[in-house]
């Protein structure tokens, strides 16, 4: 899977590093002082690297658990995100990760114990409050779980801390680590979903929608809580109709009782990130028409966004109560 693995000085003897190196014993090993030496330099081609990314094993120092912007909540008292990994196995054209970093290599922060400790410190600040922790912001939470062993550390922790919620944001069908254990009531597996034509055209290397829905069904059946993330909504020909049919298809697949939450958001991107994405894929129709700059972000024009958003919102609310619905606009 990896031809090259870079190893940051600080983690060269970390048990998780040694475990990964043992598993990928054919990969070339390259030492570095800090991961930024490899990951951050300019004059790297994200698009070329995406063809064959290397793995960088590193430690995350500080800023491990961060509050989310206020509009990204799921009804808890406090919302945070943390990233044990930078970059994603998948190659979704609309994803901000396309324009976020200089490098397409995967950075895996192996010091999970420090993340867990920081989450615990955050919880201990006010144990009476319910806190939500999002794990799939800079990566897919489950796609590389077999490499990273992420769930094997974080699920047991959350199982013991009932005032903390964990969201595993994913498109992956790699769910055996969940199916092999008892469901944890405060863990939500949240799937990013788009109608098949969008997924096929824009969500490169991600599992097909049918496979994602099948994974959802299995998780729901075994008692795991499910999140549905219709985000980002993409404007395309007959999109409103296609989204409507797709919402029916999704809710037919998942028993309503297993749904923890549904979120909805349209395509949007910070201007500088958008410019970089556009320069990586200058012929990508997604970046072409009906867009506008609003408050420093590129998104669909008001009328298009509203029409798409409100029609999908209306459709979703036919299936779930407003208390489970979290629009993000």
């Amino acid at each position: 899977m990896f031809d090259r693995i870079y190893i940051e000085e600080a983690v060269k003897n970390h048990p998780r590093t040694l475990e990964i190196l043992e598993r990928y014993d054919h990969a070339e090993r390259i030492d570095c002082r800090r991961y930024g030496e490899v990951f951050n330099p300019k004059r790297q081609s994200f698009r070329l690297q995406k063809q064959n990314p290397a793995l960088i094993l590193a430690a995350k120092h500080g800023n491990r658990v961060l509050p989310t912007p206020p509009e990204y909540g799921l009804g808890a008292d406090q919302h945070y995100y943390f990233s044990h990994m930078l970059n994603c196995l998948y190659d979704c054209r609309y994803c901000f990760l396309q324009g976020m970093y200089q490098s397409a290599n995967y950075v895996l922060f192996v010091n999970y114990e420090d993340f867990v400790n920081d989450i615990k410190v955050t919880l201990d600040e006010d144990p009476s409050k319910q806190s939500f922790f999002f794990s799939g912001y800079d990566c897919d939470s489950l796609a590389m779980d077999k490499v990273t062993g992420f769930t094997s550390v974080f699920l047991p922790f959350f199982a013991q801390h009932k005032n903390a919620w964990l969201e595993l944001r994913t498109k992956s069908v790699n769910i055996s680590s969940l199916l092999d254990r008892e469901p944890i009531p405060n863990v939500v597996t949240a799937y990013s979903l788009n109608p098949e034509p969008v997924a096929d055209s824009l969500e490169h290397r991600a599992p097909p929608i049918k496979a994602r829905l099948s994974a959802l069904k299995k998780l729901a059946k075994t008692g795991w809580k499910i999140g549905l993330r219709f985000d980002p909504l993409i404007h395309f020909e007959n999109g409103i109709e296609k989204y409507s049919q797709f919402i029916d298809q999704v809710f037919d697949s998942v028993p309503p009782g297993s749904i923890h939450s549904v979120t909805l958001g349209t395509f949007r991107s910070p201007k500088n990130v958008f410019k970089k994405m556009e320069s990586l894929y200058p012929k990508e129709p997604l970046f072409m028409g009906n867009l506008q700059l609003k408050n420093g972000a590129i998104g669909y024009r008001e009328a298009i966004e509203q029409a798409l958003f409100s029609s999908v919102e209306e459709k979703i609310l036919q299936y779930i109560s407003p208390s489970k619905f979290f629009p993000c606009q």
Binding site: D3, R4, Y6, E28, I30, D31, C32, R33, E37, V38, P41, R43, Q44, S45, R47, L48, Q49, Q51, N52, A54, S103, N105, P197, V198, D200, S201, L202, I234, H235, F236, E237, G239, S279, L280, Y281, P282, K283, E284, P285, L286, M288, G289, N290
Partner: protein, 273 residues
């Protein structure tokens, strides 16, 4: 285009012959050679000479899609003479900077750290090879290409059993380099990649020129015009593109620009999926 950078003429000779290159100029002590698909600089020994010649070659022959290769001999403690490596880390004896060349495809050579020294050394270190050019070359070549397109390939010419100077023979060095040419060829073929460079098609260029001639545009409008035609070039097929010529009948420039935008907005949702 392949851009080779080598220190010595005896190193360069087999590559010059293989690509049928002819001399095409000089810069200081550096000599340039050019063939149909490749260029080469013989830089002279040393990191600074390599950097100067690499910069001169990049400026004299601008190209956005070149792959730059520094090929040369090196010393490695217990590595067999003739064994070749690709640099996965480039360091030097005089700077804290470190480069990590990125690979796109598979390499036919194992990777190793290349440490560039200012002078030949008969003291070797485990897990790295010593040369005298890679660091200067890499620093300079990154101005012209991304890290994936700049690589250093080094062939062991001396080791602790046969230290520097003991067998420094030009013919042998030529044959060490010549022995790697098939791998160099296949490496370059396998790593032929094109960036997302954007070249507008003829109809779009024609429309752009015609619009600039027809309307008196401000700088902002010129920018809007180029951007909209570029978008349409990405969205439309040839016939649809040619049909846009009719928009030039718009009497006013504002109307023309609006019609272009209307077309973009109309077509883009159809082309997303």
């Amino acid at each position: 285009m392949k851009q080779f950078v080598l220190a010595l003429h005896c190193e360069a000779k087999p590559i010059i012959q293989h690509y049928r290159m002819k001399p095409c100029g000089k810069h200081g002590q550096a000599q340039f050679f050019e063939g149909e698909t490749a260029r080469l600089a013989v830089t002279g020994v040393g990191s600074l000479s390599s950097a100067i010649a690499t910069t001169a070659m990049g400026e004299r022959f601008p190209s956005n899609d070149s792959t730059w290769l520094n090929i040369g001999i090196c010393g490695g403690e217990d590595l067999a003479i003739g064994e070749a490596f690709i640099g996965n880390k480039i360091t030097s004896g005089y700077s804290r900077d470190v480069f990590y060349p990125q690979l796109v495809g598979k390499s036919p050579w194992p990777g190793i750290e290349i440490k560039t020294l200012n002078a030949p050394s008969s003291v070797y270190e485990t897990n790295r090879v010593f040369d005298m050019e890679a660091f200067g070359f890499y620093t300079a070549a990154l101005t012209f290409a991304s890290s994936e397109r700049v690589q250093c390939i080094k062939i062991i010419s001396d080791n602790s059993d046969s230290p520097t100077g003991a067998h420094f023979n030009k013919t042998e060095i030529s044959s060490l380099i010549a022995s790697q040419i098939p791998k160099i060829e296949s490496f370059l073929e396998n790593t032929e990649f094109s960036e997302a460079e954007y070249h507008m098609r003829d109809w779009a260029n024609d429309l752009l020129s015609a619009a600039k001639t027809r309307y008196s545009l401000t700088e902002t409008e010129r920018h809007q015009l180029s951007s909209r035609i570029r978008q349409l070039d990405a969205l439309l097929d040839l016939e649809e593109g040619l049909n846009l010529q009719v928009l030039l009948n718009s009497p006013k420039k504002g109307q023309f620009l609006e019609r272009l935008q209307f077309k973009i907005d109309q077509v883009s949702p159809q082309r997303v999926c």
